[in-house]
Point group: C2
């Protein structure tokens, strides 16, 4: 029982910091995406593709979350946007505090879109709010179509589901229809995109939708 | 600082229970494997293949760990061995306590090999001992060859690394040699297996090695 209480308190404290972050982002007029997935589902690849598509149209920044290493921030940096690396040093998720520290490295009011790439993990990142406008998750078809049954919270909390690696569908035992059906049973409002970061298929629909979300926040924030 | 202290205390308490579990397993003469990976890397598929290969030679039992659902225990049950499902109800890893409760459902002294399939997560399961003889991890080639750099603890703690889905190598940008080189830099004693649970390639080497480990424990435990 006491364990449950401790976890509740940690989450409550985090929610408070996340609300402060959200206020900061609102004032600056920057749209924030919390991008989550299993290790290797393609978060950084999707981000590279998204940066390449939107960089000229939107002022972007990226926060990279990893237990260790700065390979992802270096990858993103090569695409011409500023990327700040957070190393959690063991923790399996980002939290409001880590984001509050990391955003100090950005001039937030000069950004339209800030994407936070969370630690590769389908579990805990779904529980810790960062102050984001939306959570988006990636599921790659190589992970199998049973994942909504096993990690429902992630699907419930996300506004967008990007189904990645659809170029590998001929070689794996996975039904995209079953993923979609199971994900929508948990979260009927989930917006779903089928993409391949390798071939580029489906990415234009994703980036157009994302740009629309950013445009929807800006006028309100700057009014 | 206080956060670090709390985590240390939780891990110390868990280590104590894990030592009691290990004693229980030693007395019963059952060899216990803690199988870990990202979601969808192929833990249950490897287990199904392993059960099919060793079921006639060894008396096997399986504990399935998931946040939610019992699909994995049902999959394993169809292969003719007893499988107990643990639902963590949110927690991203198994711990000594959960295992202590689950093993009450087995007649341990009638088992040679007990495999525990951990929650799909490359992070926290590496920190929580269960009382196992060895930790084994799976990395699928679709996850990319940078994973040892990002999740070093898992590679450090594991005795065996099963590189799965090698049938997909022609279609993904991943070097098995680079995975092996990076994993061995972290843990030079790591035993590495290249397999495909789809085609069956490499599985005989893995199951033969595992059977050898089990045989190595039995005489001592029963002497």
């Amino acid at each position: 029982m006491s364990t449950v209480k401790v976890i509740t308190n940690i989450l409550e404290a985090n929610d408070r910091i996340a609300r402060q972050n959200a206020q900061l982002f609102g004032t600056a007029g920057v749209y924030v995406v919390n991008l989550m997935s299993s290790p290797g589902a393609g978060k950084t690849s999707l981000l590279e593709r998204t940066v390449d598509a939107l960089h000229g149209k939107l002022r972007m920044g990226v926060i990279e979350g990893d237990i260790q290493s700065s390979v992802d921030a270096e990858r993103i940096g090569r695409h011409g946007v500023k990327a700040v690396q957070i190393n959690t040093g063991g923790a399996c998720h980002l939290d409001g505090n880590l984001i509050r520290d990391a955003v100090e490295d950005f001039a937030l009011s000069e950004l339209d879109l800030l994407v936070v790439e969370n630690v590769g993990n389908l579990v805990c990142p779904a529980e810790f709010k960062l102050g984001e406008d939306i959570k988006a998750m990636i599921l790659s078809v190589t992970e199998g179509d049973d994942k909504p049954l096993k990690y429902p919270l992630m699907f419930q909390e996300s506004s967008a589901l990007v189904i990645n690696k659809i170029d590998l569908l001929p070689y794996v035992n996975c039904s995209v229809e079953r993923i979609e059906e199971r994900a929508l049973a948990i979260n009927p409002a989930l917006r779903i995109f089928r993409v391949s970061c390798t071939t580029g298929e489906g990415l234009a629909t994703w980036t157009a939708w994302l740009a629309d979300q950013v445009a929807g926040k800006r006028p309100r924030a700057r009014a």
